[in-house]
């Protein structure tokens, strides 16, 4: 008993308080969405508030269980748990229940669970375990490779379900790697690749290639000391490109602009490499390799998108990127979401008063679009308070992570911070039309047992590690 009392004294009560505020607030909003004043017959089929209350109870029990577990358990079992969650993800692909075209549910009796939610916890644990190894830093090539492997395996499996939203959540763990020493340049490169990935889906190959060439020239120009060399490069490129495009324009070359540009780029780079080698210029070969690597990347994205993805997956990505519009879906939903939030005004319509969400104009209003209800019923003031509480919790978690003596605990803490922040930022941004709609829940708020339980478990493992930070040095 003594030990537990100490534990309670050591627990970070500010974080727990913020957590409880969010849980209660979330439940109130779910209640409001599903509330109907005039009749009890309309919504008898959905007893979501009651279900969510049960999930909250289960989550709190889980939190307590975590608090009485020996904190070393989490680092010791990190790898087995990780392997187990991979196995379950695999199982879901084979035997999962399909909902909305995505096989991401496992049915346990009448209750459905989404293993992808829980895999986030085990992935952070495994990553923390790996990076906390003796003298392991996220700046050697080998360690970066293994870290990426740990991060990438679950989303690869989740991608097969397919569940695009849950997949890209793992990208947020780059923040952890950055904190642990990942080169800022590498981070930028990865972000650039992600940008190119999106660009290659949205824009034509011609535009993307042109973009790549310009960026290459820019980087080369910034890095090379002799500005004259950059000038040469531009001149050679133009010398190859302009006649080619002219010939194409005059119908002498029967190919599309992308091929013409590609040929021009090949000609120009070859010429320039020969020139550069004879003049012993540095960095040219690297630059050209970089350019071609990206051209290859664009091509493979294109190939994967058109040949490997199935039609409905492709359509979903296209709709998400706004390439295809669908009057029932994306455009309409985002617009409804903006209207619902906008209609809240400064002070909101008041609890249980939101007609926008009440009339079911906003889709998925209990789950992914729960923020619409917050915006509509609680207004700008309520939304601001909510953002403040959530960001407050995240900042508090950074402070907690930074005060850990054990590297494992710190890395784990940053993992929690990254995942929570990513979910928060992306979920709210999509309801505000700042980001494409990808179906990920708002932590602690959205309806759903899997996400609530996994976020609670994730948070309380961190708080447990923190509560015992003085006890062991693990």
């Amino acid at each position: 008993m003594r030990r537990r009392l100490n534990l309670l004294a050591e627990a970070d009560w500010l974080a727990i308080f913020l957590f409880l505020v969010l849980i209660v607030f979330g439940w109130l909003n779910i209640y409001s969405v599903n509330y109907n004043e005039s009749s009890t017959t309309f919504f008898t089929t959905s007893n979501r508030p009651a279900m969510q209350l049960a999930w909250i109870g289960i989550s709190l029990v889980l939190a307590l269980l975590i608090f009485v577990t020996d904190s070393r358990f989490f680092s010791f079992t990190a790898y087995p748990l990780y392997a187990f969650s991979l196995a379950v993800l695999l199982l879901v692909i084979i035997a999962g229940k399909e909902v909305n075209g995505s096989k991401s549910w496992i049915m346990i009796g009448p209750v459905g669970l989404q293993p992808a939610e829980f895999a986030k916890v085990t992935t952070i644990l495994a990553l923390a375990r790996f990076l906390s190894g003796y003298n392991v830093k996220a700046n050697s090539r080998k360690n970066i490779f293994f870290s990426f492997l740990i991060i990438a395996l679950p989303p690869i499996f989740i991608m097969l379900q397919p569940d695009f939203g849950s997949t890209i959540v793992y990208g947020s763990l780059l923040i952890v790697l950055y904190r642990e020493g990942l080169s800022g340049w590498l981070l930028l490169l990865i972000l650039f690749m992600a940008g190119i990935f999106l660009a290659s889906l949205v824009f034509s190959k011609f535009v993307v290639l042109l973009l790549l060439v310009l960026v290459s020239l820019l980087i080369y120009g910034v890095n090379s000391k002799n500005k004259k060399n950059t000038g040469y490069a531009i001149v050679i490129l133009l010398a190859a490109l302009v006649p080619s495009l002219l010939l194409q324009y005059l119908d002498f070359i029967k190919a599309d602009s992308f091929i013409v540009l590609l040929i021009a780029v090949i000609l120009a780079t070859t010429t320039y490499i020969i020139l550069a080698l004879s003049k012993k210029l540095k960095g040219v070969v690297l630059m050209v390799v970089f350019l071609y690597a990206f051209i290859g990347f664009v091509y493979s994205v294109d190939f994967v998108f058109h040949n490997i993805l199935q039609k409905h997956q492709r359509e979903r990505v296209e709709i998400m990127l706004g390439l295809k519009s669908d009057p029932w879906g994306y455009e309409y939903n985002v617009n409804q979401s903006k209207i619902a939030i906008g209609s809240g005004g400064f002070t909101g319509r008041g609890f249980l008063q939101g007609p926008q969400t009440k009339l079911k104009y906003v889709p998925e209003q209990s789950t992914d679009f729960i923020f619409c209800t917050i915006g509509e019923e609680w207004g700008f003031l309520g939304s601001l308070a909510f953002v403040a509480v959530f960001i407050g919790l995240i900042i508090r978690l950074i402070i907690i992570a930074e005060r850990q003596r054990s590297k494992f605990s710190r890395i784990y803490g940053y993992g929690v911070v990254s995942i929570l922040f990513f979910h928060f930022a992306v979920n709210i941004s999509m309801t505000l039309a700042l980001f494409p709609v990808i179906g990920i829940p708002l932590p602690f708020i959205s309806y759903g047992g899997s996400s609530l339980m996994s976020f609670t478990v994730m948070l309380f493992i961190m708080l447990k590690l923190d509560a015992t930070r003085k006890a062991y040095l693990i």
């Binding site: 009749s39 017959t41 309309f42 923040i175 950055y178 904190r179 642990e180 020493g181 009057p327 309409y332 617009n335 409804q336 903006k338 209207i339 619902a340 939030i341 906008g342 209609s343 809240g344 005004g345 400064f346 007609p355 926008q356 009339l359 079911k360 104009y361 915006g375 207004g379 700008f380 939304s383 601001l384 953002v387 960001i391 995240i394 900042i395 950074i398 930074e402 940053y414 911070v417 922040f421 930022a425 709210i428 941004s429 505000l432 700042l434």
Partner: protein, 608 residues
């Protein structure tokens, strides 16, 4: 302290930056920019379904059979309801106030955002009166759609009927929504995907109170309804109408096929019903009445009734015997008023004896085909009785028996041709031989065939050894006919050279003294026909006749069944001959009018 500790500030700053962006965006949407707040008053959308007209149906000569008539449903938009004079509405609609209240309550529970059906298919008078007064009843709307209308009230069984979708169909096919209609039987069902067309959608903006505010996004997403494709049947509507008229007092069926194409010319199951009975509001009530009728007018006998084929089946056994070489056209067998052997006796009628093959077909001699069948089953070529029997069955199946023919009308029955395993189970393996199953020789016993299969048999004999899968749709607007049906010739296992003997026998049966269907002879056209009697344990046997004509260049093959008609020659053959005459000459010769009269005035529907 590690060397990267400073990065925590960068990470924290990044998080705060995003938070600030979100807060600015919130401020913009909720406080600064009022357009979103205003559009909340005016921002929902309602989808209205525009129902397409179903495709029209024509006969093979371009005669319109089925078209559409407008129909109006009364719908309620729950959000738009305002106080109104319910007494007046009730008097227009002819309902009591409680019905109105229940209706409104029910509509509210379905979906408050949509207009939901309250009363379907208003009568034209009610629609007219209510339309004038509509302004008095806010929240009440009409939706227009079409119902079937029959220009010619024929072919109920082949056309089928249209019905409202049920929840299981909605689940199975995402095209359907509550309140849609679909083809539930006949060609309405088998060609549903062509006939139904494509629903259109109109997206309308409505405000919070459900009032319409115009087109959503200037109608950018609206789609027009696409009417269903028109269908041309292979049916000859004159022949069909005449066949129905002839069958009006009988239970049975008529199937007529053009042998060279497999196109069905007439397709009657009697008793039939007027297809107009199963349209719209009256459908349900009439359906129940028809269902209760002891003569089963809803039962499509042409493809669902399975009868013992009777003597018409002798032609098949004869052909198999010839092809197997166990008899030749000149083979004669004696008939002493029947076939009598160890433990078997099968009566025959009085005729000259012995007979050769053609004479045996002409006279429908039971003994001849019992001998033939015994030779087929006891053929030394095969090691056991069972092997010989299996070979025989293979032949039978090649004639299209024992399996559905594949006609483009749903619910076709396969008939029944027993397998050797059936007899093994029944008599024990090795304990049955030709005599045990000798009734197969004359089409009695366990064998069951449908009238369609028997008409197909007539077509096979007319074609001298092949058939094309019978079908009832000739073409569909804009669809390549080759994609629609398989027009391959299905050759039977009997060599085409043997068919002329059967054709001769069938010719003599109708046209030579001593023939079984002499009374059905035509002056200038050679009908080849075979009578049959389908055993009926419940009463008088069924009268069966298959035929094709003209012999030299067959244009029509036909099977006629008249239940309780006793002999093939008594009802089935005269009806078939009248139909052949009508189809080939467009009229009934004066000297045969009395046959037509007799067929029209006799009545066998009370024999049951």
């Amino acid at each position: 302290m590690d060397q990267f500790a400073g990065r925590k500030y960068l990470i924290g700053a990044f998080i705060l930056l995003i938070a600030v962006i979100i807060v600015f965006r919130l401020f913009y949407l909720q406080v600064y920019d009022s357009t979103y707040r205003l559009s909340a008053e005016n921002n929902s959308r309602r989808v209205e379904i525009v129902y397409p007209a179903r495709g029209l149906v024509f006969d093979r000569n371009g005669q319109l059979i089925v078209h559409n008539q407008p129909s109006y449903d009364l719908k309620i938009a729950p959000f738009e309801l305002a106080p109104f004079d319910s007494v007046e509405l009730c008097s227009i609609l002819g309902i009591d106030i409680q019905t109105l209240r229940n209706g409104i309550h029910k509509v509210k529970t379905i979906d408050r955002e949509r207009r939901n059906p309250f009363i379907k298919q208003l009568s034209p008078e009610t629609f007219g009166r209510l339309k004038e007064q509509q302004y008095k009843f806010p929240g009440f709307y009409f939706s227009e759609r079409t119902l079937r209308k029959y220009k010619l009230e024929i072919g109920a069984h082949l056309l089928g009927y249209v019905s409202e979708v049920d929840s299981s169909l909605i689940k199975a096919d995402s095209y359907y929504e509550l309140g849609d209609y679909y083809g539930a039987s006949g060609i309405e069902k088998s060609y549903e995907n062509y006939l139904r067309g494509e629903k259109g959608r109109r997206f309308r903006l409505i405000d919070v109170r459900g009032r319409e505010q115009g087109a959503y996004k200037e109608g950018r997403y609206d789609t027009d309804a696409v009417r269903g494709k028109n269908i041309t049947l292979t049916i000859d509507s004159d022949l069909q109408a005449f066949a129905e008229q002839l069958m009006q007092n009988y239970i049975g069926s008529v199937v007529a096929i053009e042998p060279s194409t497999g196109e069905i010319l007439a397709f009657v199951s009697a008793p039939y019903y007027n297809p107009s009975l199963l349209i719209g509001r009256i459908r349900e009530e009439n359906f129940i009445t028809l269902q209760k009728d002891s003569l089963e007018p809803l039962f499509n006998r042409t493809i669902m009734a399975m009868y013992p084929p009777g003597s018409t089946f002798k032609t098949v056994n004869g052909l198999i015997g010839l092809n197997e070489g166990v008899i030749s056209p000149s083979t004669t067998f004696p008939c002493r008023m029947g076939y009598y052997a160890k433990g078997v006796s099968m009566k025959c009628h009085a005729h000259a004896s012995p007979l050769n093959f053609v004479e045996a077909v002409q006279n429908s001699c039971n003994a001849y085909f019992a001998h033939t069948y015994k030779n087929i089953i006891d053929n030394n070529k095969y090691p056991t009785t069972e092997d010989a029997f299996n070979k025989w069955r293979e032949y039978i199946v090649s004639f299209g028996f024992g399996n559905p023919t594949g006609i483009d009308i749903p619910s076709e029955k396969p008939g029944f041709i027993p397998k050797s395993s059936y007899y093994n189970r029944y008599y024990r393996k090795g304990y049955w031989k030709a005599h045990t199953i000798i009734s197969n020789s004359i089409g009695q016993g366990e064998i069951l065939t449908t009238p369609l299969q028997n008409a197909n048999l007539a077509a096979i004999i007319a074609n001298k050894g092949y058939y094309i899968v019978p079908h009832i749709v000739k073409n569909i607007e804009g669809i390549d006919t080759a994609d629609l049906h398989n027009h391959d010739k299905h050759f039977v296992m009997v060599d085409s050279s043997f068919f002329k003997y059967v054709a001769d026998g069938m010719d003599y049966a109708v046209n030579k003294p001593g023939g079984t269907a002499l009374g059905s002879r035509l002056q200038n056209i050679t009908i080849c026909g075979k009578t049959g009697t389908a055993e009926n344990p419940h009463g008088e046997d069924h009268s069966v006749f298959i035929a094709f004509a003209p012999k030299e260049n067959p244009q029509i093959a036909i099977s006629v069944y008249v239940e309780y008609g006793k002999w093939g020659a008594s009802y089935a053959a005269p009806i078939a001959s009248l139909l052949i005459e009508k189809y080939l000459t467009d009229t009934i010769a004066p000297n045969r009018k009395y046959i037509e009269q007799r067929m029209l005035t006799s009545k066998l529907t009370d024999k049951q």
